[in-house]
């Protein structure tokens, strides 16, 4: 076990993947000489060479399209997209090629590529350096979409994603890059497709992922002071979603709150609320509550705290699910 930041845990995951399988290659802007904007790939080009850790020019469609070509011929490319908002020029390749090749070829062609995307806000940046575009990809059949919240998961899930024969969108919660935690490189943890019950509770199920898991845990602690027992679930996989784990929890608590940074409309929260309403209709004591970013483009850095769900907004969501008075609006459910 070593204590690592989440960013370093990703780096050590990449390092292990590169040494375990010589078909693994890394592609991206500024990942080699510079070691990546967030230093996740620091030292990898020095140790594995320029043929395996490849600095590309600005060309997101090219990077992902090339990864498809490499995957066709037996490689396991890992692409880095520098920031969430720069994935859009590569969107066409991801949605029209990467996601569809396996199905389109009747399962003959595998696309074992991984696309790493630092995402989310909270670092004082702006639009397209702070976005949460995961729902676009979760909406697209054929892609696995995962995200991590701890250094251990960062390490193990990334290695699992790279080893997977499916294309994986790997979303990294960039404001948690500096979070520290113990990492056991040899741990065979929970498979990346499974959600994790991070803390058990009996009154409300609070579902989240990535950057907001830490905030949800804070909410659970704060609510406990009020005598409310929250069960926090870290989804980890956003597509497919491990609905069994979430259902089991909701059947126990009868109340569901979902929180994510991405805007509300058409987001993961909507999908989870709909499916859980379907699956747990007779267990639910109240309508599922979503606490999310607002339906606006990501705002200026100085206003981002008003956009991002925080402890207060999450606790209000919990109150709403419990039919208690909402401190923001004064309404009760």
């Amino acid at each position: 076990m070593t204590e690592l930041t989440l960013a370093k845990a990703l780096g050590s995951g990449l390092r292990r993947a590169l040494s375990d399988d010589d078909k693994v290659v890394l592609l991206g802007e500024d990942i080699g000489t510079l070691g990546g904007v967030f230093r996740v790939t620091d030292g990898l080009q020095r140790d594995f060479g320029k043929d395996r850790v490849i600095d590309t020019p600005l060309a997101e469609a090219g990077i992902i399209g090339m990864a498809v070509g490499l995957a066709f011929r037996g490689y396991r490319p890992v692409c880095e997209i520098q920031f969430d908002g720069f994935i859009y020029p590569g969107f066409d390749q991801i949605v029209a090629q990467v996601a569809k090749l396996h199905y389109r070829t009747g399962g003959n062609v595998r696309m074992p590529l991984t696309i790493r995307v630092p995402y989310g806000g909270g670092i004082g940046a702006v639009e397209h350096h702070s976005e949460s575009p995961e729902a676009y990809f979760a909406h697209t059949a054929g892609l696995r979409v995962v995200t991590c919240s701890t250094p251990q998961d960062a390490h193990s899930m990334l290695r699992e994603a790279i080893a997977s024969d499916d294309p994986v969108l790997f979303f990294e919660p960039k404001r948690r890059y500096w979070t520290k935690g113990e990492v056991d490189e040899d741990a065979t943890g929970l498979p990346m497709g499974k959600a994790r019950v991070v803390t058990e509770g009996t009154d409300v199920t609070l579902v989240t992922y990535g950057p907001l898991v830490a905030t949800a845990l804070d909410a659970a602690v704060a609510a406990a002071d009020d005598g409310i027992s929250i069960e926090v679930i870290d989804l980890r996989s956003l597509s497919p979603v491990d609905f069994d784990t979430v259902s089991a929890s909701v059947q126990k608590t009868g109340r569901l709150v979902i929180t994510h940074e991405a805007s509300e409309s058409g987001g993961l929260g909507a999908e989870i609320a709909a499916t859980l309403t379907d699956r747990c209709f007779y267990y639910l004591e109240a309508a599922p509550v979503r606490i999310t970013g607002f339906d606006v483009p990501y705002p200026a850095a100085k206003l981002e705290d008003h956009f991002l769900p925080d402890l207060d907004r999450i606790l209000d969501g919990v109150d709403r699910a419990l039919g208690r008075v909402n401190s923001l609006t004064g309404w009760s459910a």
């Binding site: 510079l34 070691g35 590309t56 020019p57 600005l58 859009y88 702006v126 606006v296």
Partner: protein, 324 residues
């Protein structure tokens, strides 16, 4: 033969003032940022001032530009007000975008500035579209799309230039080749002696000029703009220059040498211009001093007034998503 800028008192003073404004504005931004008074992301163009200065001198007020993440110089050269720019960077209600856009998204439609852009190459097809509108409306307006060397790898660059060439639109693609796209050197990224060699493949004229020389940039832009106004279609210009500062705030310059940076600092476009103006008799030392002093005073008051303006508020965080 174009006007010799350095020999013309008015033009020389105006050009020098523009360069100093850009330099001082960005130094102030760097300082405010360093002191934690400014938020967000910012990219400085210190060292590259001659490019927007020379290029915008060849434009009319109603001509268009599109700009980049490194866009303060383009804004200033096209006539933006430093106070409103500073207010924008400080996230104030009085900023160009009411504090919503920040450094990378200033748009000032009154001076024809269709916006800086956080997406590299995002402005290329936009400039092409503005040029198409000029053609459709039968005006003689021209659009200049500033962009970096790194932008030339993006698909949007290619598509924008293809369309402009096909319809012979009045647009100038002006590449500021500052030798790097973040850490990627343009020498490595392009298999070309000069980036303007690429123009041939698109069937448009291309030229490479010294981007630290106002006159050279002006001459090339003037020729391109005249041609565009006359219906002669697009032009590609490569202006070779250098960014002195890091790519953005946290750059440790791992991809270039101290010597290289020093070498280019020796080619500072501002004293170069001043020396030429003195020699040509366009400006006296007193004129030069006056320009510097005036810019300093103007900038100081811009910063003070911007600082005193009301902060952008969260009250209407949800407004302006739709037209109504």
């Amino acid at each position: 033969m174009n006007t010799q800028i350095v020999a013309d008192r008015e033009l020389a003073a105006a050009s020098l003032a523009t360069m100093w404004k850009i330099r001082r504005f960005e130094e102030a931004v760097e300082d405010l940022y360093g002191r934690g008074l400014m938020h967000g992301t910012m990219h400085l163009s210190i060292g590259q001032e001659a490019v927007p200065t020379g290029a915008c001198l060849a434009l009319n007020k109603d001509d268009y530009i599109t700009s980049t993440h490194r866009g303060h110089g383009h804004c200033i050269a096209k006539g933006a007000d430093m106070e409103r720019m500073m207010a924008e960077l400080l996230a104030k209600e009085t900023g160009y975008c009411r504090g919503r856009g920040g450094s990378m998204h200033i748009a000032d439609t009154e001076t024809g500035n269709l916006g800086a852009n956080g997406i590299v190459a995002g402005g290329i097809p936009i400039a092409t579209g503005a040029a198409l509108s000029a053609k459709m409306r039968g005006t003689k307006q021209v659009a200049v799309s500033f962009h970096g060397d790194g932008a030339m790898g993006e698909g949007a660059w290619h598509e924008g230039v293809v369309l402009a060439a096909m319809w012979q639109l009045p647009v100038v693609f002006l590449c500021e080749n500052n030798l790097y796209g973040m850490s990627m050197s343009s020498e490595k990224a392009f298999n070309l002696d000069q980036l303007s060699d690429r123009a041939k493949g698109y069937g448009i004229p291309g030229v490479t000029v010294d981007g630290n020389d106002v006159q050279a940039v002006y001459d090339a832009t003037k020729e391109a703009v005249d041609r565009a106004r006359a219906g002669g279609g697009p032009t590609f210009i490569e202006a070779k220059t250098y960014r002195w500062r890091g790519h953005s705030k946290s750059d440790k310059n791992l991809y270039r040498t101290r010597d290289e940076i020093d070498e280019w600092r020796g080619k500072d476009p501002i004293p170069h211009f001043e020396a030429l103006a003195l020699a040509a008799g366009g400006l006296t030392q007193a004129d030069i001093d006056a320009v510097r002093d005036n810019v300093r005073t103007e900038l100081r008051s811009a910063v003070q007034r911007a600082n005193a303006a009301p902060d952008a508020t969260a009250d209407d965080l949800l407004s302006a998503v739709y037209a109504r």
